[in-house]
């Protein structure tokens, strides 16, 4: 769909191992600006590792990862920080800071990384909490939130700096179908309204089909298939077929 434009995320022959166990093997893919790429695959096939490589929480053993033209795995300090500021990350467990309230979780990046006044920070936090439907829960501690609320709070925190790129790790894991669909709606809204580039790791083929423009299927660290829903529907590989058809 968007292949004519310069890709904003490029993985170029990336490999990663933990000890002697290879997790990713020679994976190459790219994501165009405004595109939503869904990474599908069985557990332990390197999907979350791929996301962490994209934001340099992990470094590749081989290959290059370029974000907006910058080779992120070679960056350090301020330069790395500058590239990471373009990105938001929704973790599988939401990873909310458990000793701070929902409000403080969202305010932290604004306090640390922007020159906004207290009033502006309050307004930004309220705006994003309103977007995810948690405005009445802003003074709650993470432990007081349900799984779906944690995911929404994590999403609000990932969005609070208005990133160009949103990396989402298992948005529907551990959630019922209705709550998972609500999270998908929020992602879809983000994609349509703000044209945010997204990479979404998921097991949920139904949700992926709703939000994604293209789909990559990983198996045992290798890229099995990459393409649109239509292309994957006609892919002959049994694993691709099973993963993409499951709902």
């Amino acid at each position: 769909m968007t292949n004519e434009r310069d890709p904003i995320i490029v993985l170029d022959h990336v490999s990663k191992s933990f000890g002697s166990k290879p997790v990713l093997q020679d994976v190459s893919l790219n994501v165009a600006p405004g595109e939503a790429l869904c990474l599908l695959g069985r557990s332990g096939t390197g999907k979350s590792v791929t996301l962490k490589l994209m934001i340099a929480l992990l470094l590749p053993d081989n290959g290059q990862i370029r974000i907006g033209g910058e080779n992120i795995d070679k960056l350090k300090g301020v330069q790395l920080s500058h590239v990471r500021r373009k990105m938001g990350f929704l973790f599988q467990s939401a990873a909310l800071f458990d000793s701070w309230t929902v409000y403080e979780n969202l305010a932290l990046p604004l306090r640390r990384l922007t020159s906004k006044s207290k009033k502006e920070i309050d307004e930004s936090v309220d705006f994003f909490l309103h977007e995810v439907g948690l405005i009445s829960d802003k003074n709650k501690m993470p432990v007081e939130l349900s799984g779906g609320m944690k995911k929404r709070a994590g999403l609000a925190r990932a969005l609070v700096l208005e990133p160009e790129i949103l990396l989402v790790d298992e948005p529907s894991s551990g959630l019922d179908r209705i709550t998972a669909a609500e999270i998908d709606d929020l992602l879809l809204e983000q994609k349509i309204k703000r044209k945010t580039t997204m990479v979404i790791v998921t097991h949920d083929a139904r949700g992926a089909r709703r939000v994604g423009d293209r789909f990559a299927v990983l198996d045992q660290g290798c890229l099995l298939a990459l393409g649109t829903a239509d292309e994957l529907d006609h892919n002959g590989n049994a694993i691709v077929h099973k993963l993409f058809e499951e709902s």
């Binding site: 920080s81 990350f89 973790f91």
Partner: protein, 186 residues
């Protein structure tokens, strides 16, 4: 021995101020705070909270580790003084029960011939203990990668290694204090 009882307050004050107060404060903080720092940071690592801080381009080391080390360095001398005070109060109470000594006489005897060098350097040496507790506990907590199992291991390692290093540092620092302040050697 004749007159030995009169020496008890002085012996107590010397023991508490020079050695027992600083060392016990260090070991207690290593047990209580060191385990806490190790467990909290390891839990943050296991639940991806540290990754989340890094992902929003904030230096997690600066906001999680540095303040904890500074807090330990600042808190240890203050806790040591509190410990010294509590120990001397306990010493007075026991002496009062046994020999009905007055507070004024206890204080006079306790601080008789006591030098500042018997109090200031031993108290300040606990900043080193605080640094050891802060760095060791933070190291074990911050660098763990064993999930939930690593939380317990980080807490245990923090206490054990901090305590051992505190005892080792104490031996070295006592020698250094005696070299720098020879008058403090009794």
């Amino acid at each position: 021995m004749f007159g030995a009882a009169a020496m008890i307050p002085r012996v107590q004050s010397l023991a508490f101020l020079v050695e027992i107060g600083p060392l016990f404060a260090g070991l207690l903080v290593a047990g209580r705070v060191g385990a806490g720092i190790g467990a909290v940071l390891a839990n943050m690592r296991a639940t991806e909270q540290i990754d989340a801080i890094d992902a929003i381009s904030i230096d997690s080391f600066n906001i999680l580790v540095v303040p904890r080390i500074i807090a330990c360095v600042v808190a240890l001398p203050l806790l040591t003084m509190f410990m010294d005070f509590a120990a001397l109060l306990g010493g007075f109470c026991s002496e009062f029960v046994l020999s009905h000594i007055t507070l004024q006489l206890y204080v006079t005897r306790a601080f008789m011939n006591l030098e500042w060098s018997n109090f200031i350097p031993p108290t300040l040496k606990t900043t080193v203990f605080g640094f050891i507790i802060g760095t060791v506990s933070s190291f074990y907590g911050y660098t763990t990668n064993e999930g939930a199992e690593g939380v317990g291991r980080a807490a245990t390692n923090s206490v054990v290694v901090s305590s051992l290093l505190i005892i080792l540092a104490d031996v070295i620092l006592v020698k250094c204090i005696f070299l720098i302040f020879p008058e403090s050697a009794v």
